[in-house]
Symmetry: C2
Subunit: 404 residues, 2 copies
């Protein structure tokens, strides 16, 4: 497996584009994106577990009931959530896209991200549709990524090439997400394309399985969004024998999908609102996977630890505290904690109690922008990784006046 | 019932004091506090549910197994948690206190608050004990409060007078708590004294019942501390007939205790680390109490809402979002949301969708320093209140370099 260029256009038969249509006032910011497969594709999706769900999600669930899709349309600047006419608007977005592309309305996936509770005007979307369709190209993945960004500071793009069933296949993805990130089934918006041939039900199985160890282990601020969606389209143009059951090919696909998703998780966490550091909690030696995940995610979610990491303060007591209240069944007196980065590794806690360490060295390690928090439970073989970021002045600034 | 002066010294037979003994480097900051009842008192306590528990808690559970106590000793500057010799040190603190006061070691409640994972030196405590005992007085409640403060900016003191069984009784309390506040059985440190005559088991019943609607509905940063403790001592000197069962007197005591605890919750939330505003989420019309509490607390815990309140931004979508992911069983399409403060009330959401409102008026309301978030579920009769604070630059600043 190797990383390649191209994002959601890396796979055969996919084009993408993004334009400014006028949902956002700033004309320099693209606000409408489109991804198209030249043939109908197997499609799987997972959504937020928030009871408040964006209108697009309700429409997508209906459109994807047959496991087939051909295009994804997405706007930024407005979440189309908590609006009385939300479903009609989301359905209209699908219709406009289908008419423009001459495909079935039911094969359009629709998504929206931005402010909650402000009616989404369909007019700029209708007016922008022809130019959006005209912008579709193999190079359009960067514009499409830009069109879904909100408070993101960097585009999040990845693609890999791998061999499945003797054929070279590609999986690529783009993501947006910077605040309101604490996915619980899926993260904000992630669009993945592949030319692998795979049955819709196996694609859903692969996605639903993988997010448990990827997007569900990611948190920026503990707020599970109303619009979280991960969509994967696989159009089969790689020419491999269609994957219809578990086995070598399915495993190879799962590995490639996992590589794409982990890369996107790291990008999203590292670009968390106001973040200066990517935090990775790598926990091993837990009694079972469930406890490993609960404990690792609790560490990443602790506001106090996040603030300490911003200050490059090796305040390991906050790691122990977060494990202690996580609900995970662990023996606190066996836990070891260390911090690691490019600048080295430092052990700060053994068997649940502090050990002497150089504050100077710890500071040096924590001043890096990618920090690993290593936790060993010495209770079994299960391990888990969770991703997050530090809590900074800028997080407060961004969210103190996001809407007005 | 009326509010009176005196804090933990308001009740008959209680004295208190606080000194600087040397745990903290800053000589102007008191770091050791003592509360004494002239006779042994009924005593009830609740503690953190964090698996990592401060050594004092482990000692207190043993000391309070008979439901009787006479003194509370507490230091700030060091939590005595995650230390190999923690229990010996906590036991030694109790012994030194008992010897000085000529009471039983088992009748001493011990507490510590501050940094986790640094050994607590008993020497300054031993050396400070005589002057601490000498400082005990009816006026000492302010010094005692100061001695338990960490990042608190204001002392938290309350007392009420009420009539129980024909006798005038008093209940008073002090609290510390500013960060790592997300109690789940109890808040950081709350010491309450009363001269009511009440059996230990009824005192525990009153306390365990009340915290469900008071301290357990309080959150500053979502981090459940390792040292949360609420202790109530009632020495019976008011002369009322001993409360040994439910009934009128028990109800009167519960009401007074609730008044004290709600007052302390509001003080703790309003003085959250870096906070500029007290937030109260008052939720009504829920199907049952459990769902009411879950939803109200989720609103108060949302980092995004907390940041919006700091910015005086009426971003009600974040209220809906937090209710939606809370796990509470609610019908989102029936929910109304309003913001209220001294400057007025503004309705922002009805039946789950936004309604037009004056941004100017909303800003005026949210610029006040006590904000009520009113949520109506229209599903039943249950209601709940949760307390929190806004998320500010100063929270990040305080926690970015708390330890070093």
């Amino acid at each position: 497996m190797k990383f390649i260029e191209g994002g959601v256009c890396a796979a055969k038969g996919f084009t993408a584009g993004g334009v400014h249509c006028g949902i956002r006032k700033n004309k320099d910011k693209k606000d409408l994106s489109l991804i198209l497969s030249e043939v109908p594709a197997s499609c799987a999706a997972v959504y937020t577990t928030n009871l408040v769900q964006g209108a697009p999600i309700l429409v997508d669930k209906r459109h994807l009931s047959d496991g087939i899709a051909q295009a994804i349309i997405c706007n930024s600047g407005n979440a189309n959530t908590c609006n009385a006419d939300g479903i009609q608007v989301a359905e209209k977005m699908s219709q406009l896209t289908a008419q423009q592309l001459k495909i079935r309305t039911e094969d359009v996936v629709v998504a929206s991200t931005g402010v909650i509770g402000q009616p989404l005007d369909i007019t700029p979307i209708a007016e922008g549709m022809p130019s959006l369709a005209a912008a579709l190209s193999k190079d359009g993945y960067k514009d499409a990524t830009e069109g879904i960004m909100t408070t993101d500071t960097v585009p999040k793009i990845v693609a890999v090439e791998c061999e499945i069933g003797g054929k070279t296949c590609r999986i690529g993805g783009i993501a947006k997400g910077s605040g309101m990130i604490h996915p619980n089934m899926a993260t904000m918006l992630v669009f993945i394309t592949s030319d692998v041939a795979i049955a819709p039900e196996m694609l859903q199985k692969a996605l639903s399985g993988d997010i448990q160890s990827t997007f569900n282990m990611l948190s920026i601020d503990g707020d599970t969004s109303t619009n979280d969606t991960v969509v994967v389209m696989a159009n089969g143009l790689a020419g491999n024998a269609v994957i219809t059951e578990e086995g070598e090919d399915f495993t190879a696909f799962m590995q490639a999908l996992n590589t794409v998703n982990v890369a996107l998780c790291r990008m999203i966490a590292g670009d968390g609102e106001g973040a200066t550091k990517l935090l990775e909690c790598k926990l091993d030696g837990a009694a079972d996977l469930k406890n490993a995940r609960i404990a690792a995610k609790s560490v990443i979610c602790s506001s106090l630890l996040k603030a300490a990491m911003f200050g490059a303060d090796a305040n390991w007591g906050r790691v122990m505290c977060a494990i202690g209240y996580s609900g995970a069944d662990v023996d606190i007196t066996k836990i070891d904690v260390a911090f690691r980065s490019k600048a080295g590794t430092i052990v700060v806690c053994q068997q649940g109690a502090g050990v002497p360490f150089s504050e100077e060295k710890a500071k040096e390690i924590l001043l890096e922008n990618e920090i690993e928090i290593l936790v060993s439970c010495h209770a079994g073989d299960a391990c888990a990784t969770a991703w997050g970021c530090d809590l900074t002045y800028d997080y407060v600034k961004i969210n103190g006046d996001y809407r007005t």
